[in-house]
């Protein structure tokens, strides 16, 4: 097998893994043709979050924060152990964000900075590539403290949330717009073709209904900047920022696969540098940096002289003209310690603020089955899978409402969508156990089991129709799904403006029965600011955030 064949295999591998990743996110949705199991629970037919479970950075960081490797995260060893022998093959062959960066970087450019000598120069190792190691150790520092911040920058969760909560909703809006424009022409053949194409596209790409996510702009800009940077520096993200790449770089230290450079054969044409993805100095005359190489094999495949070859146990010449490769990562011990200390300081800083405990937002309504906030922030990687799968579009990324530490973690916004009482999909897709998988019985409860509560409903009597406006309503009571209903009614004869007697039923809330699902808030006709609303108090996951004495959990 020639190296060009192997390089083509790498290209195929990139396409396959990218499509697989994308397909898994497409499948992270409640499809119409599901059928319930015998227990009545609706279970996703595929392990849609499996790609995230192969992420070694998630495994490492959650191990630091929680002391255990949750469920499927053991799969990450399938990536990590081969990396020890082969190097960062994941970055060049598998990582879907790496692939995307690769593609975007390689699209032809008219900018002179990306051509000829400048391009060669830009593909030599640069000091900024250390940043990713600093970030890795800063995240290790926050994780030792107990706050999992790596999800912000880990490529797999980052891409999952960017596709799931930014790209696909935008595609949805866009395709509806095109369809409506074409249907608006009123020309029958155009309409027929549009209808056909839209239905086909919708069947493959679009969920049952359009999702609208909170703070899509912050997620979108973040993702756009990462993608756009490729047009200035080839794979800027992979080279300089990616903490997963940094981790894999560290683990590739003893890799037995390496680049062998024959100084005698090289005529310094620099073609290797033109196509280098990792900026790892593949050319003869410089020190090859093992920890930076993505194993894309472009250098070997493009070398007309056969001076470069990847080999197991490569022979290392070490001369002044051709210094030997280095497996050392370009960051000193002192800076490692400094970064970890910095991470710990950031952790302490975050927790010294008020948002975590003493002034937690009442709107931090976590998905059903979520663990206590302390543990939640130790587990949530912000992959957005729960938001994507939620059939009611109830779960949304926060921006700063729940504190900086919790940015882009999921909360329910009941006005947009409520928590469907019999649904347990968010717990099924959570790869790290921030949302535990509930059985149907644990979710809705029965005579022996308490239901899972995510908050409690409160009335704004100044906005409620029967309370404030002498008008019948009780939609909240109608929608209340508990049995008996947590919302109960009391008849009251009130007088309208003209002095006529009007019989209204006034709603009251029984906090012993309310699960905080938000159906009442969703259904309340006082559209812009609901007369009944949920806050997090009473949530099952918290020992402290309770109202009633009788609902305090036994410690």
């Amino acid at each position: 097998m020639t190296v060009k064949t192997v390089r083509n295999l790498r290209r195929v591998s990139q396409v396959v893994f990218f499509l697989l990743f994308f397909w898994l996110i497409l499948k992270t949705t409640f499809e119409v043709d599901f059928s319930p199991s015998d227990s009545g629970a609706i279970v996703l037919p595929y392990p849609v979050s499996i790609a995230l479970e192969f992420d070694p950075l998630v495994a490492l960081m959650t191990l630091l924060t929680t002391g255990s490797i949750y469920k499927g995260l053991l799969w990450s060893l399938v990536i990590l152990i081969p990396t020890i022998f082969l190097g960062r093959f994941f970055c060049g062959w598998i990582c879907p964000l790496g692939t995307l960066n690769h593609w975007i970087s390689e699209i032809g450019s008219e900018r002179r900075a990306r051509k000829g000598a400048r391009r060669i120069e830009s593909n030599r190792y640069k000091k900024y590539q250390r940043i990713k190691y600093y970030l890795l150790f800063i995240f290790i520092g926050t994780s030792i403290g107990g706050s999992l911040q790596m999800g912000l920058l880990d490529p797999l969760p980052l891409l999952a949330r960017s596709i799931g909560t930014v790209v696909l909703p935008i595609v949805h809006t866009f395709s509806i717009g095109i369809r409506d424009t074409m249907m608006g022409t009123g020309i029958p053949p155009v309409m027929a073709v549009t209808r056909f194409l839209y239905d086909l596209f919708a069947a493959v790409m679009l969920p049952f209904r359009q999702a609208h996510f909170h703070t899509i702009i912050s997620l979108g800009v973040f993702f756009f900047v990462i993608i756009a940077m490729n047009r200035i520096f080839t794979r800027f993200w992979c080279r300089g920022i990616c903490p997963l790449g940094a981790m894999l770089g560290y683990f590739s230290r003893f890799a037995i696969l390496g680049l062998e450079k024959k100084a005698s054969a090289c005529d310094h044409c620099n073609l290797c540098l033109i196509s280098c993805q990792g900026a790892d100095n593949p050319d003869v005359g410089t020190r090859w940096r093992k920890a930076e190489c993505h194993l894309c094999l472009n250098c070997q495949a493009s070398c007309p002289q056969g001076a470069l070859s990847f080999k197991f146990f490569p022979e290392q010449e070490n001369t002044v003209e051709n210094p030997a490769a280095t497996s050392k990562v370009d960051i000193s011990r002192r800076k490692v310690i400094g970064s970890v200390a910095g991470g710990l300081a950031i952790f302490a800083g975050l927790r010294s603020g008020d948002a975590f405990a003493v002034n937690a937002s009442p709107l931090t309504i976590r998905p059903p089955g979520s663990v206590d906030e302390h543990d939640f922030l130790a587990r949530c990687i912000r992959c957005g899978q729960c938001m994507r799968v939620c059939p009611n579009n109830a779960l949304h990324p926060t921006l700063l409402e729940s504190g900086f530490e919790a940015m882009w973690t999921p909360v329910m916004i009941a006005r947009i969508g409520y928590c469907e009482p019999t649904c347990t999909l968010c717990g099924q897709v959570c790869p790290t156990g921030a949302i535990q998988e509930l059985t149907l019985k644990q979710k809705v409860g029965d005579k022996e089991t308490q239901p899972n509560r995510i908050g409690t409903a409160f009335l704004d009597r100044g906005r409620c129709l029967p309370w404030a406006m002498a008008t019948p309503c009780i939609v909240c009571e109608e929608w209340c799904p508990t049995s008996p209903k947590a919302i109960y009614l009391r008849d009251k004869i009130v007088q309208d403006r003209e002095g006529n007697d009007v019989l209204v039923k006034r709603p009251y809330i029984d906090p012993r029965l309310c699960t905080g699902c938000g159906a009442c808030e969703f259904a309340c006709p006082v559209a812009d600011q609901k007369a009944i609303y949920i806050t997090a108090v009473g949530e099952s996951r918290s020992e402290r955030n309770q109202i009633l004495l009788e609902q305090r959990r036994k410690a």
Partner: protein
């Protein structure tokens, strides 16, 4: 500047100015606000009255399929209501994400059988749909209605945004509302409510079940629930109403949840008179038609009669 240049540049500027001005005038709209075209439609799917059959029939048997057939045959049989080649929309109550035993949604066995009967009578297409409250995927799934209806060959529609047509309903209260098009673009409509309690309208029966043809902000209808139900029932006149009283939900309606709130009644009522049907059906909840305000208002509005015996009432009990 040369004359040629002056003419060229001046001419171009003039042309651009003309186009700009013309565009402004062309698209100028002196009306403020937007206007959405609405369809003027009344939707009567009724068949001509036939005095040789009783106006309302109730059957009580153990087997729901046999019960439906007995009640239906008593009022004339399916062939009286569905003619060969007609499109039929069946509207069960699929409001909530509840299992059949919880009696919040119409019994799926009855829905399946009704679809089968429509095809047997020669219907060209039978659509089963409802505008659900909870997520339609879950409602249609857990209620068992999607499965039962599809097995019988029906086209089950889970409504999406583009399925609605804005219609002028011509009611006292309900004017322009989005209506699911399957309740307009059809020849026959069979309403299949389940009998259950409701805190505001007292009971959810045939006429209240018609809420499910509407989209939009239905939650406002509660503010004048009696008049909105009557407006709906005057706008949409089903070919036949088939009330499912195999299970009856007495408390915690319209969603229920607890099986303690459900009684087994094994009954089905068929009628061409929506008011009479509701008047008979509400007796399962210990009510009387003239005391339920929306049923009484429907009679006063001339939609039918509360005195169901006056139109011929037949009871088949095995």
């Amino acid at each position: 500047m040369k004359r040629r240049e002056f003419l060229q540049q001046g001419g171009k500027a003039l042309a651009l100015a003309t186009v700009t001005g013309a565009t402004g005038l062309l698209f100028h709209n002196s009306n403020s606000g937007s206007y959405t075209a609405v369809l003027e439609r009344s939707t009567s799917f009724e068949v001509p009255p036939d005095k040789s059959f009783p106006g309302i029939a109730l059957a009580r048997q153990d087997d729901p399929i046999a019960t439906l057939n007995s009640a239906l045959d008593a009022v004339g049989g399916i062939k009286r209501f569905v003619k060969p080649g007609e499109k039929v929309t069946v509207k069960p109550n699929v409001g909530w994400d509840r299992a059949p035993e919880q009696a919040a949604n119409t019994n799926p066995i009855l829905v399946g059988e009704m679809v089968r009967l429509c095809y047997e009578a020669g219907a060209s297409e039978v659509v089963v749909t409802d505008v659900t409250c909870n997520d339609p995927r879950r409602c249609f799934l857990r209620s068992g209605i999607r499965e039962a209806a599809e097995k019988a060959g029906a086209k089950v529609i889970l409504p999406v945004e583009e399925d609605y047509i804005k219609v002028n309903m011509g009611g006292k209260l309900l004017t322009a509302w989005p209506v699911l098009r399957y309740f307009i673009e059809t020849d026959r409509m069979i309403n299949m409510p389940i009998v259950k309690q409701h805190s505001l309208s007292i009971c959810t029966l045939g006429m209240k079940n018609l809420y499910g043809i509407l989209g939009g902000r239905r939650n406002q209808l509660h503010q004048r629930i009696d008049q909105s139900i009557v407006d709906l029932a005057s706008f949409c006149r089903p070919t036949l109403t088939v009330a499912d009283a195999t299970r009856v939900l007495h408390r915690g309606g319209p969603q229920g949840g607890s099986l303690d709130d459900v009684t087994i009644e094994n009954s089905v009522i068929c009628s061409t008179d929506q008011v009479a049907l509701d008047a008979r059906a509400c007796e399962f909840l210990g009510l009387s038609g003239d005391l339920v305000s929306h049923i009484a208002l429907a009679q006063a509005s001339g939609l039918g009669t509360v005195d169901y015996e006056s139109i011929g009432y037949k009871e088949i009990v095995l």
